[in-house]
């Protein structure tokens, strides 16, 4: 029957149209995103995947706590810093001690006020000077 043949053709054309127009990989990605956003529990695997990172962070923290110097790379210097001058400025006791220092970092001024309980030290480096 012509009508039946027409209907079969319509079906074929329609299915072909939908199949080719559909971006299935995008659809599946959107489905996954949607599920994760609204209907996923807290999967055991999701927690476990962070475990190696956590172990690494804990190890680094322990090592730094044991010896903070591992964060630094001590460098051998041939010319140590040298105090050029020291003077005291008298005002409210204790006096301010000012030291001029020459070092590889550049001219440096050190201000110190030796309070008994909370001594203060300010180091002022003029780098590139």
């Amino acid at each position: 029957m012509a009508n039946g043949r027409n209907n079969d053709e319509i079906k074929r054309l329609y299915q072909d149209y939908v199949a080719k127009e559909l971006d299935r990989s995008r659809l599946l990605q959107e489905k996954d995103d949607f599920l994760k956003a609204y209907f996923a529990g807290w999967p055991l695997l999701g927690v476990l995947q962070f475990l190696p990172s956590l172990v690494l962070i804990v190890m680094i923290a322990v090592l730094v706590w044991i010896d903070p110097r591992i964060l630094h790379h001590p460098e051998k210097i041939s010319t140590p810093a040298m105090i050029l001058t020291t003077r005291e400025v008298f005002g409210e006791p204790p006096p301010v001690v000012i030291k001029r220092i020459v070092s590889r970092t550049g001219p440096t001024l050190v201000y110190q006020k030796h309070y008994e309980k909370h001594p203060i030290t300010i180091i002022w480096i003029f780098s590139g000077g």
């Binding site: 054309l13 329609y14 149209y17 939908v18 559909l22 609204y38």
Partner: protein, 191 residues
């Protein structure tokens, strides 16, 4: 007949997102294609699909099992997609019993059946024509086509999914196919 989704539905009704997630996983593509068949664009279909599942999750406690879950889902999805299309095109006359526009003549198409580069152009021409024809259909006719031609529901299943009489299902399908045929008539005459 026992609904294969019974256990997941029961757990979902108790609030289990994991159980409902499995229903989403099972039916997402089905709902998406249905929405796409009505709206004809990906973003709209995605939005409708996700809205449908969120709505169904909110209302699943009210699902009494009088029909299969899948049938209920079809109905919610069809209504949501049709509403979305109507919001996009509020000026359109959406009468489900439109007759053919006699002033409109289908375009003349010549398909080159030889193998080679022209085949691809013909395929894309045909898809463009199918899309053009589908765009002329009302949402109800688009829904009928996608449920029958893609999801391959029986007429009875379509009637339940659409909430209409069997006769109306067949009438809509007949009109939709006729409209498509008119536009693609030259292609069909080759047989």
């Amino acid at each position: 007949m026992r609904d294969p989704d019974d256990e997941l539905i029961r757990l979902s009704q108790q609030g289990s997102k994991t159980a409902f997630g499995k229903l989403v996983d099972r039916y997402y593509e089905m709902v998406f294609v249905l929405a796409f068949g009505i709206l004809h664009h990906h973003e709209g279909a995605r939005d409708v699909t996700q809205d449908v599942f969120l709505k169904v999750f909110r209302e699943i406690k009210n699902f009494k099992g009088e029909s299969k879950f899948k049938t209920w889902l079809y109905r919610v999805a069809v209504n949501a997609a049709i509403d979305a299309l109507r919001k996009q095109r509020p000026h359109e006359h959406l009468d489900g019993t439109d007759v053919s526009d006699e002033d409109e003549k289908p375009p003349l198409i010549v398909l080159d059946r030889r193998a080679g580069p022209r085949e691809k152009a013909s395929e894309s021409e045909m898809r463009a024509l199918v899309r053009e024809a589908l765009d002329k259909l009302s949402p109800d006719h688009r829904a009928a086509l996608v449920l029958r031609e893609w999801h391959e529901l029986s007429y009875e299943e379509m009637a339940h999914a659409l909430g209409i009489e069997l006769g109306t299902v067949m009438s809509r399908l007949h009109y939709a196919r006729k409209k498509l045929s008119e536009i693609l008539s030259l292609r069909l005459m080759e047989y």
